[in-house]
C-alpha cells in the first residue's frame, strides 16, 4: 500500500486560509461579469435612478429587444470578425508551420540566418505611423478586409519558435527514413510533420483565433467603412459614442425623422450598451474556456534560445 500512498511533497499553507484567499480572488473575476449581465437585464428607468447593480433591480428584456430589433449591424460585425479571424489563423498556421519546420532540421544550412531574423522581429519593430503609411499608401490595405488578414497571417516570431520547439521533439530518423524512400521535403511536412504535430497546431491556432477575435486596433487605425467593423471595434464605438448607438437603433428605416426621434428618445441607452456587450462577447466567453488547455499549453517560450 505504501507504494501508492500520496506523495508527501512539502509543507503546505493551511488549506482554509488558501481557499478563502482564492475564493475571494475568484469573486473579483466573477462579480464584474455578473455586473455586466445584470445591467443588460435591468430596465433603463431603474438604471437612471439606482445605477448599476450586481442583481437586476427591475428585470427587463427591453435592451435585448432593441438589439434584435435591428440586428443587421451586429450580425455583419460577427461575420466580418469570424471570417477574418478564421482566414488569418488558417493561412497563418500553414505559413508559420512551413517556415518553422526547416529551422528544426539540423541539416538546414540557412538556419542561423532565419532564426536571427525571427528573433529580431520579436524584439524590434516598425513604429505605428510608418507602418500605417506603408500599409495604406503602398499596399493599399486600408479600408479593405485584407488588412485584417494579410499582415496577421505572416509568421510571427513567437509562433515560429513554438512550432520549432515542438518539431524538434520529432525524431529526425523519421525524416531520414522518408528521404531514403524518396520523399520530398514538402511531402514530409504534409504527410509526417503535420499529423504528428496537431497539438501545437491547435495551440497556436487557438491563440491566433482569440487574437483575431479580440482585435479592434486594426479597425481603429485602418477602417473607415462601418460595414467592415469588427465586433470589438463596434463595441468600442457603442460604449463611447451615444450618437453612434442611436444611429444603430434607428437604422436606415423609412420612418419619418420625427418617428426616428421618438425611437431615439424611448430607446434605452445604458442597458442597451451592456446588452450589446453581452451579445457580442458572451458566446465566445462561454466557448473559449473549453479550449483553455490549448491556450496554456506551449505558453513557455523558454526554448527560444538556439
Amino acid at each position: 500500500m505504501s507504494a501508492i500512498a500520496v506523495k508527501k511533497r512539502k509543507v503546505r499553507l493551511p488549506a482554509v486560509l488558501l481557499n478563502t484567499f482564492f475564493i475571494l480572488l475568484s469573486l473579483c473575476y466573477i462579480l464584474p461579469m455578473l455586473l455586466v449581465i445584470a445591467t443588460s437585464l435591468t430596465s433603463e428607468d431603474a438604471i437612471l435612478t439606482a445605477g448599476f447593480h450586481i442583481f437586476p433591480v427591475e428585470f427587463s428584456l427591453e435592451a435585448y429587444r432593441t438589439v434584435f430589433h435591428n440586428p443587421s449591424t451586429i450580425i455583419r460585425a460577427y461575420g466580418v470578425t469570424f471570417f477574418t479571424a478564421t482566414a488569418s489563423t488558417a493561412l497563418g498556421l500553414v505559413i508559420t508551420g512551413l517556415s518553422a519546420y526547416p529551422l528544426s532540421r539540423s541539416n538546414f544550412r540557412f538556419k542561423k540566418i532565419f532564426i536571427t531574423s525571427y528573433l529580431l522581429s520579436m524584439l524590434f519593430g516598425g513604429s505605428m505611423i510608418p507602418t500605417y503609411i506603408i500599409y495604406s499608401k503602398y499596399y493599399h490595405l486600408n479600408n479593405t478586409i485584407w488588412v485584417y488578414i494579410v499582415p496577421a497571417m505572416c509568421a510571427s516570431g513567437y509562433s515560429v519558435f513554438m512550432f520549432r520547439t515542438f518539431f524538434r521533439s520529432i525524431p529526425e530518423s523519421l525524416f531520414e527514413a522518408a528521404k531514403l524512400d524518396g520523399a520530398k521535403e514538402l511531402y514530409i511536412f504534409f504527410k509526417i510533420v503535420i499529423p504528428l504535430s496537431t497539438a501545437i497546431f491547435a495551440t497556436v491556432g487557438f491563440q491566433g483565433f482569440v487574437g483575431g477575435w479580440n482585435n479592434y486596433q486594426t479597425a481603429l487605425i485602418y477602417i473607415r467603412d462601418s460595414k467592415l467593423y469588427t465586433l470589438q471595434y463596434l463595441l468600442n464605438r457603442i460604449l463611447n459614442e451615444n450618437e453612434f448607438l442611436k444611429s444603430l437603433q434607428t437604422g436606415q428605416s423609412d420612418l419619418s425623422p420625427i418617428a426616428q426621434e421618438d425611437i431615439k428618445k424611448a430607446a434605452p441607452t445604458e442597458s442597451l450598451k451592456f446588452a450589446m456587450c453581452v451579445v457580442a462577447a458572451g458566446p465566445m466567453i462561454c466557448i473559449f474556456p473549453f479550449f483553455q488547455k490549448y491556450f496554456s499549453k506551449g505558453m513557455v517560450v523558454g526554448s527560444v534560445k538556439g
Binding site: K8, R9, K10, V11, L13, A15, L18, N19, F22, L25, S26, P32, L35, V36, F52, H53, V94, I95, T96, L98, S99, Y101, P102, R105, F108, F114, L119, S121, M122, F124, G125, G126, S127, M128, I129, I133, Y135, K137, Y138, Y139, V150, C154, A155, K184, E185, L186, W213, N214, N215, Q232, L235, L239, N240, A281, I285, P289, F295, M299, V300, G302
Partner: protein
C-alpha cells in the same frame, strides 16, 4: 608541435567538404518551404521597419512617398526637445513601464506559489480557469466592466461609497487615482496566464528536493525561499528581457480604452502609443515618425541592457 600540426592537417582532410548549395538538395528544398514566411517577413516586417528608420529624417510628402521625400536631417527632432506634452508622455511611459515590468511578474509569482499549495486538484483547476477569463475577453469588454464600476452616475463604486457613508466621486476627473486603477486592471488581466507559466515551472521541480528539505526540518518559508523561488528565476529573467520593450512601448489597449480617452486624464494616462495614435489621427506623420524612431532606439537599448544585466547575473538565462 610538428606532430600537432600534422594531426590538425590530417584532421582537416578527414572532415568531409561542405557540399555546395547546388548539390545540397535537402537545404534547397527546405529553403523553398521558408519562402512564404520570408516574403511575409520582408513585406510586413523589414519594409515597415525600414520605413521607420528612414522617415524621421525626411520631410514626408504624401505625393512623393517615403523614399522620394527630401531629406531634412534632424529637423523633425528639434521640436521634440522643446515640447512640454512629450516630456510628460515620456515620463508616464517610462514610469508605468518600469512599474508594470516588475509588479506584474511579482504578483504572478506570488499567485503561482500560493496555487502550488492548493491540494485539491479540482479547486486548483477552478481557480485557474476563473483567473484566465480576462484572456478570452478583449480589452473593449474589459473597458465595459471598468465603466460599469467607475461610472460617476451609475457606477458600483459610488454605490459602495454611499453605502459606507462617503460622498460620491467622479473618478474620471481625479488624476492621482489612475495609476492605481491601471495597475489593478493590468495585474487582474495578466495574473491568470502569467501565474500559469510559473506554476508549470513549479510543477516541474523534482519532489525529492522538498522531501529532503522536510527531513532536514525546513519550514514552509525556507522551502519556498530555497527551492521554489530559485526554480522560477529563469522564467522571471526571460520575462524581464522579453518585457523590457514594454518599458517604452506600453500597452495601447490598456491606456486608450480604460481611461476612455478622456482628455483631462492625459497628464497621468497618456503614453507614447496613445500619443502616436493621436499624431496619426491629426496627420502629423513626420513628427510622429520621429517620436516612434526615438522609441525604437530606446527599446533597443533597453533590450540589450536588460539582456546584458541578466547575462552578468546568470549567464545561462540570457536570451542571446
Amino acid at each position: 608541435m610538428a606532430q600537432l600540426g600534422k594531426l590538425q592537417k590530417s584532421k582537416t582532410s578527414v572532415v568531409p567538404k561542405r557540399k555546395s548549395i547546388l548539390k545540397d538538395f535537402s537545404s534547397r528544398e527546405l529553403l523553398l518551404l521558408c519562402i512564404p514566411g520570408l516574403i511575409g517577413q520582408i513585406l510586413f516586417y523589414y519594409i515597415p521597419t525600414g520605413a521607420s528608420i528612414v522617415m524621421p529624417f525626411k520631410d514626408y510628402d504624401y505625393k512623393l512617398g517615403v523614399w522620394g521625400s527630401p531629406w531634412i536631417g534632424l529637423k523633425n527632432f528639434t521640436w521634440i526637445f522643446k515640447s512640454i506634452s512629450l516630456g510628460r508622455v515620456m515620463r508616464n511611459t517610462v514610469m508605468y513601464g518600469f512599474w508594470f515590468l516588475f509588479v506584474g511578474p511579482i504578483c504572478n509569482i506570488i499567485i503561482a506559489l500560493l496555487l502550488f499549495d492548493v491540494k485539491k486538484r479540482s479547486a486548483l483547476k477552478l481557480y485557474q480557469t476563473v483567473m484566465c477569463f480576462p484572456n478570452f475577453m478583449s480589452m473593449v469588454v474589459i473597458s465595459f466592466i471598468t465603466y460599469a464600476i467607475l461610472s460617476p452616475r451609475f457606477g458600483v463604486l459610488n454605490d459602495i461609497r454611499s453605502f459606507l457613508g462617503m460622498s460620491p466621486i467622479d473618478v474620471y476627473t481625479i488624476l492621482p487615482i489612475w495609476p492605481l486603477i491601471l495597475t489593478i486592471v493590468n495585474v487582474w488581466l495578466g495574473i491568470g496566464m502569467g501565474s500559469m507559466l510559473y506554476f508549470a515551472a513549479l510543477m516541474g521541480i523534482d519532489s525529492t528536493l522538498y522531501e529532503a528539505a522536510q527531513i532536514d526540518g525546513a519550514s514552509h518559508w525556507q522551502q519556498t525561499r530555497y527551492i521554489s523561488i530559485p526554480h522560477l528565476v529563469p522564467i522571471f529573467c526571460l520575462m524581464l528581457i522579453l518585457g523590457s520593450p514594454g518599458l517604452i512601448g506600453g500597452s495601447f489597449d490598456l491606456f486608450y480604452l480604460i481611461p476612455r480617452d478622456v482628455q483631462t486624464l492625459y497628464p497621468v494616462t497618456d503614453i507614447l502609443p496613445t500619443y502616436l495614435f493621436r499624431a496619426l489621427k491629426e496627420g502629423s506623420y513626420a513628427k510622429g515618425a520621429a517620436v516612434g524612431f526615438l522609441q525604437s532606439i530606446c527599446s533597443t537599448i533597453l533590450i540589450l541592457s536588460s539582456n546584458f544585466v541578466v547575462r552578468k547575473v546568470s549567464p545561462e538565462n540570457s536570451l542571446f
